[in-house]
Structure formats: structure tokens, C-alpha cells
């Protein structure tokens, strides 16, 4: 009976998430004595950023800093949009992020499925090699990656940001682990029913992998959106910059308009905050189930 239960679990997981029961949600626990101070510490910088983004330049230089806003300079936001090609950066980042999320979902699914289910020569060795790349810090492969991207004449284009990030060892590993938990009889039944390998993947496996795919999408989105180092190295035209890179240009060598910088920061954070708000459980799952960076 256990296999049937597995199938049922997979079915349930594939369905839309249900809201948590409201009963007991606000019960007090002694853990809150620890968690609430930590939450305050985490929130203070965000509040400070928000407040600063609404101050005048003079106020931002006040010491000690003001946490309670004395003025609401909403025109800071308008200034940012005027002084810098902020909308352009936003679109660039969105394009790169969407491309990377789509690429990771597609290519990691294909590779993960092959490693999970198809028997081929050298499978385990190749898989271990791919896993091993997780241990190589990005700083180590900056130069070779740069050379490859330059060979394709992609330096200072969005392609430089997309191409190297279309698939990753993390996604391959995570999806392989998930695919292996699906009952293999489902795939065998589909193959007997006439589905090809790709048909099995797209019509049976992926529809049952909603939670895993969502987790991968959310994590890839966040990594790509917040990436700074790689765009810094490959992009130098203001028109091709991403938000994170563009934000850095607000910090001048002699003078920094802190209020404008913070206004830009707040705007750049909105998509990630929204994502976090609606897909929080997939973040947690991604970190909890794989025990890897998140």
C-alpha cells in the first residue's frame, strides 16, 4: 500500500497549495521571546532604508541618524527615475531573470530527469562531477567564464548575463532528487501507453513536480535578480546594466546622494519582496530540502 500512498502524496503535492488553518496561528510560544528581538534586528535596516529614501539630502547627513521621518520627500523617487535610466535597468534585469529562470527550469529538468531515470554509461561519474562544481567558488571561475563569454562576443550584452546561468548544478541536483521520489510505475505506464521519454517528462513527471519547479524558479529568480559581481565584470554601458549594477553608480567617488540611492534600492527590492511574500514556503523548502546555499 505504501506505493499507492506515495502516488497520492505526489498527487496532493501537485495540487494548488492550501492555506494553513487559521486556528492556533497566533498562539504565544516562549520561542517568541527569542524570535521577536531577532526579527527587530533584521527589520531595522529595512526601515532605515525606507525612511532615508523619503528624506532630503541634508537630513540623511544628520548625526545621529533619524529613524523617525521628519519629511516625506516622495519626489526622491521621481528624481531617481529622471536622473538614471532606472526603467531600462529594471527591464534589463527582468529580461535576464526571466530568461535564467526559464532556462534553469527547462535544462535542469532535462538533465535532472536523465540522471534520475535513464541508465547510461558514466552516469554516476558525470553526476558526481556536476555536484562537485557546487564546491567551486564563483570567484575561481570568473576568468575562464569571462573568456568563454568573450569568445561568443557577448561582453557588454545581456547575453553575457544569461548564457552562463541557463543551467546550474544546484537545479540539476534538486530536480534529480525530486524526480527519484516519484513512483517509477507512473513512467512505465506512460511508456507502455505510448509516450516517448520526453513525453513522459513533460506530460507525467513535470506536472507532478510543481513544488520542486516552483522552488527552483524562486531561488533562481532571487540569485539572478540580486547578482552583482558578474554584471560588474561583463557590463559597462549604462544602457545594458542591471539594477544592482546601476545602484552602484549612485555611489559617486566624491559624493553619494544617499536619499536617491535608498529610493532606488527600495524600488529594486519590490519584486523580490513580492516574490518572498507569495512564495515564502518555496524558499524554505529549497533551503530545507537540499541543505545548500539559498
Amino acid at each position: 500500500m505504501s506505493e499507492i500512498q506515495t502516488i497520492e502524496l505526489a498527487a496532493r503535492a501537485a495540487e494548488e497549495p492550501k492555506g494553513q488553518p487559521t486556528a492556533g496561528r497566533f498562539l504565544f510560544s516562549s520561542w517568541h521571546l527569542v524570535l521577536i528581538p531577532i526579527a527587530v534586528v533584521m527589520v531595522i535596516p529595512l526601515v532605515w532604508m525606507l525612511v532615508t529614501s523619503l528624506q532630503t539630502l541634508d537630513e540623511t547627513r544628520h548625526y545621529p541618524p533619524t529613524i523617525v521621518p521628519t519629511s516625506l520627500e516622495f519626489r526622491n523617487y521621481a528624481d531617481v527615475l529622471q536622473q538614471a535610466p532606472f526603467a531600462r535597468w529594471f527591464v534589463n534585469t527582468l529580461l535576464v531573470t526571466i530568461a535564467c529562470v526559464a532556462g534553469n527550469l527547462l535544462f535542469c529538468s532535462l538533465a535532472g530527469y536523465a540522471f534520475a531515470r535513464i541508465r547510461f554509461f558514466g552516469r554516476e561519474v558525470v553526476f558526481v562531477l556536476i555536484l562537485a562544481t557546487l564546491m567551486v567558488p564563483f570567484q575561481v571561475i570568473i576568468i575562464p567564464t569571462f573568456l568563454i563569454v568573450r569568445t561568443f562576443h557577448l561582453i557588454d550584452t545581456l547575453g553575457a548575463l544569461i548564457l552562463p546561468n541557463l543551467a546550474g548544478a544546484f537545479g540539476i541536483f534538486m530536480l534529480r532528487q525530486f524526480f527519484r521520489t516519484l513512483p517509477v510505475e507512473l513512467e512505465e505506464a506512460a511508456r507502455i501507453d505510448g509516450a516517448s521519454r520526453l513525453g513522459v517528462l513533460f506530460k507525467i513527471v513535470l506536472p507532478l513536480s510543481g513544488p520542486a519547479l516552483a522552488t527552483l524558479a524562486v531561488i533562481t529568480f532571487m540569485w539572478t535578480w540580486n547578482d552583482f559581481l558578474w554584471p560588474l565584470i561583463t557590463i559597462y554601458s549604462p544602457n545594458n546594466m542591471t539594477i544592482q549594477l546601476g545602484l552602484a553608480t549612485f555611489q559617486g567617488a566624491h559624493q553619494t546622494n544617499t536619499n536617491l540611492l535608498m529610493a532606488a534600492n527600495v524600488m529594486s527590492m519590490i519584486p523580490v519582496l513580492l516574490l518572498f511574500f507569495f512564495a515564502q514556503r518555496y524558499f524554505i523548502r529549497g533551503i530545507a530540502t537540499t541543505g545548500l546555499k539559498g
Binding site: 499507492i4 502516488i7 498527487a11 505506464a189 506512460a190 511508456r191 507502455i192 509516450a195
Partner: protein, 372 residues
């Protein structure tokens, strides 16, 4: 529809162990063939080889006269029902049934017609919009059957399809399966470890053990004339009583019991007595003394466990976890099936009549049946 033929098929998952050892088998067009045996006997492996889910290490497999060793499962035109049903959880019952047809680019009206037909046969009409998770075990089983039916394949492969159902439903579905086969006449290979399913469903049954065929034949023939000790111990419930004896000087000797014997001498034999052939007797004919131990009244019959003088022989078909009834001293545990009117009391001593023609003999050295 088509016949299925396996010739000298061997399957090894590792160098040392053959899951299936030199299996040669022919399933006739429209035949209902049962592969039966204890778990690990290779019956499921045989089925998966026919389905194309495994490749044989050697030998050939042919479906409808075409050798399919290198043909993918999708191109073999067979349908399989899995033990856990393997219904696609994210699809409705209708889509589950239609999936195989869709994958084969069947025109939509044709899909609609066949799904309606199968759902009519199986009584699924009211369930077509449900998901598998919303179905009971019996309903899922029927959907799994339906998914095979709509394909109108060359052959059905069923892997213990009833083993996840509760007892009552199993009996019902067993009859249902037989009805469907009688109606459609599709070649069917059915794997089970349940000998009642084997006896009731099959045109022929194949008894397997340790990757080898033990006996192939009609259910009644296998029951009446088991070829070896394993089959004798496996087919029949409760299993055949097997006691050590010897055949010399024209007599079969089993403890104090003597029966006429016309065959050659055999010093070491197992004497097989079916529980249903043992009946209480008082007329001075050939009989065994018997002490009743446990009585199990079943309504239409009474299963009586007890002991007699002698030594029991193991058939090799005993389940590993099965603990033989402990018999004290030189006594062997045996089982008899009585009419309800003959129900004895525990501890009662009696004599069990033995009909000489119903006695089975097996050579203990070769473990094969001794013919007569």
C-alpha cells in the same frame, strides 16, 4: 490480438543470480495464462520482459509473430495493469483512460467512443471527472483496467492487479476479470501469487520458482497431477500433506499404513495426501491414525489440524515466515478438510481413510513425481 512466445529467455540482474532462467513459454491467441509462484520467483520479471520494461539477457520474445527484443514498450502494442495501478494522479479518470489513445494520435471522436465504451463495461461513467485520489481502491483498480481496455491492445499484462483490494472486492473483481476476458477474448498474461486467482482465472497456469518453470498446464491438471514436490506444496489450500515413506515389494509403506504399489522400488519417497482427500473413517480400509489439534470451522467445510505418526517432508513452497505446527516426538503435523457434519473436538483420536488412487508419490532424490 496475438500470441506471445518466449524462447529460452534468461534475465540476469547480476552475474551470479538469474531472475529468470531459460524460460520457454507460448501464450495462445486469446488465452488467459497465469504466472504463479512465491515472491521472487521471476514471474514479474517475465511480465516486464514481455512489456519491454526490461531487456532479456538472452533468448527471444515474440508478440504476434514479430520478435520484439529491440522494440520499445510503446511500439509493442501491449497494455499493462500495475499492482499499484499507477494512475496518473494529475489527470481525471477520463484523461487517464484517454492518455494512451492520445499519445497514439487517435482521432478525438474515436477516443471519446472508446473511453465511453470502456467506462460502460467497467461502470466508471459517474467517475470520469474525478481524480485518482478521490477514488476508492476498487474504483482505481477498475480505472487501471479501463486504461488497458481502451487501447484494444494485442495483449494484456496484469501484475497482481487484485492484491491491493480487500478480500470481498477481490472475489468480485476476479469474476469481473473473467467476464471481461470472456467478452473480449484478448490474450492475457496474469501474474499472481494467489493460487485461488490462478486456479479460477487461468486457461493454463505456469507455476514458477527460483526463476524456473516448475509446471505448465490446465489448473485442474496441475492440481491433480503436480509434477514435483514444489508444485504439490504450492498449489492447493490448505497445502498437500507430505510425509516420508518408501515403496518396496509392491507396497507403499507410510508408518503403519500400507497401500498396494505396482511401480519400481523407491526407497525414499514423499507420500502426498490432499487434505480434502482425508475423511474420517471407521470401516477397516487403509487409514492413518490422527489426533485432532485445532479445528477451524469455515461453514461449508471444516479445516482440521492434527498429527499422525511419521515424518513431514518440506516441499520448498513454504513461506519463509511460515512456522510449521510443532509436532511432538515422531509425529508429523497434517491437515484434513471435513464435511461440517464431521466436525471433531480438539484432542479427539480418529482414523482418516486414504483412497489409494488419490495418493501422490514423489521421489525424494529427484523431487519429481513418480508416475503410475
Amino acid at each position: 490480438m496475438a500470441e506471445v512466445r518466449l524462447e529460452h529467455v534468461t534475465k540476469r540482474f547480476s552475474e551470479s543470480v538469474a531472475a529468470l532462467d531459460d524460460l520457454t513459454l507460448e501464450v495462445g491467441d486469446g488465452e488467459f495464462l497465469i504466472l504463479v509462484g512465491p515472491s521472487g520467483c521471476g514471474k514479474t520479471t517475465a511480465l516486464r520482459l514481455v512489456a519491454g520494461l526490461e531487456k532479456p539477457s538472452s533468448g527471444t520474445i515474440a508478440i504476434g509473430g514479430r520478435i520484439v527484443n529491440d522494440v520499445t514498450p510503446r511500439d509493442r502494442d501491449i497494455a499493462m495493469v500495475f499492482q499499484n495501478y499507477a494512475l496518473y494522479p494529475h489527470m481525471t479518470v477520463y484523461k487517464n483512460l484517454a492518455f494512451g489513445l492520445k499519445e497514439r494520435h487517435t482521432p478525438k471522436p474515436e477516443i471519446e467512443r472508446r473511453v465511453r465504451e470502456a467506462s460502460g463495461i467497467l461502470g466508471l461513467d459517474d467517475l470520469l471527472r474525478r481524480r485518482p485520489a478521490q477514488l476508492s481502491g476498487g474504483q482505481r483498480q477498475r480505472v487501471a483496467m479501463g486504461r488497458a481496455l481502451v487501447r484494444e491492445p494485442k495483449a494484456f499484462l496484469l501484475d497482481e492487479p487484485l492484491s491491493n483490494l480487500d478480500a470481498k472486492l477481490r472475489v468480485q473483481m476476479r469474476a469481473e476479470l473473467k467476464r471481461i476476458h470472456q467478452r473480449l477474448g484478448i490474450t492475457t498474461i496474469y501474474v499472481t501469487h494467489d493460487q485461488v486467482e490462478a486456479m479460477t482465472l487461468g486457461d493454463r497456469i505456469v507455476v514458477m520458482s527460483n526463476g524456473r518453470v516448475q509446471q505448465i498446464g490446465k489448473p485442474q491438471d496441475v492440481y491433480r497431477r503436480p509434477k514435483n514436490l514444489f508444485v504439490a506444496g504450492f498449489i492447493g489450500s490448505p497445502p498437500m500433506n507430505l510425509l516420508r515413506g518408501h515403496c518396496t515389494d509392491g507396497r507403499i509403506r507410510l508408518g503403519e499404513l500400507e497401500l498396494p504399489w505396482s511401480g519400481p522400488d523407491a526407497p525414499e519417497v514423499a507420500v502426498g495426501l490432499r487434505p480434502e482427500d482425508l475423511r474420517p473413517t471407521q470401516d477397516g480400509g487403509p487409514s492413518l491414525e490422527f489426533v485432532v489439534d485445532v479445528v477451524e470451522p469455515l461453514g461449508n467445510e471444516v479445516v482440521v489440524h492434527g498429527t499422525t505418526a511419521g515424518t513431514a517432508v518440506e516441499s520448498g513452497a513454504e513461506e519463509e515466515a511460515e512456522i510449521p505446527l510443532v509436532a511432538e516426538g515422531a509425529r508429523a503435523a497434517i491437515t484434513a478438510v471435513f464435511e461440517p457434519a464431521d466436525e471433531p473436538a480438539p484432542g479427539e483420536r480418529m482414523r482418516l481413510g486414504v483412497v489409494p488412487e488419490r495418493v501422490h508419490l514423489f521421489d525424494l532424490r529427484t523431487r519429481e513425481a513418480i508416475g503410475r
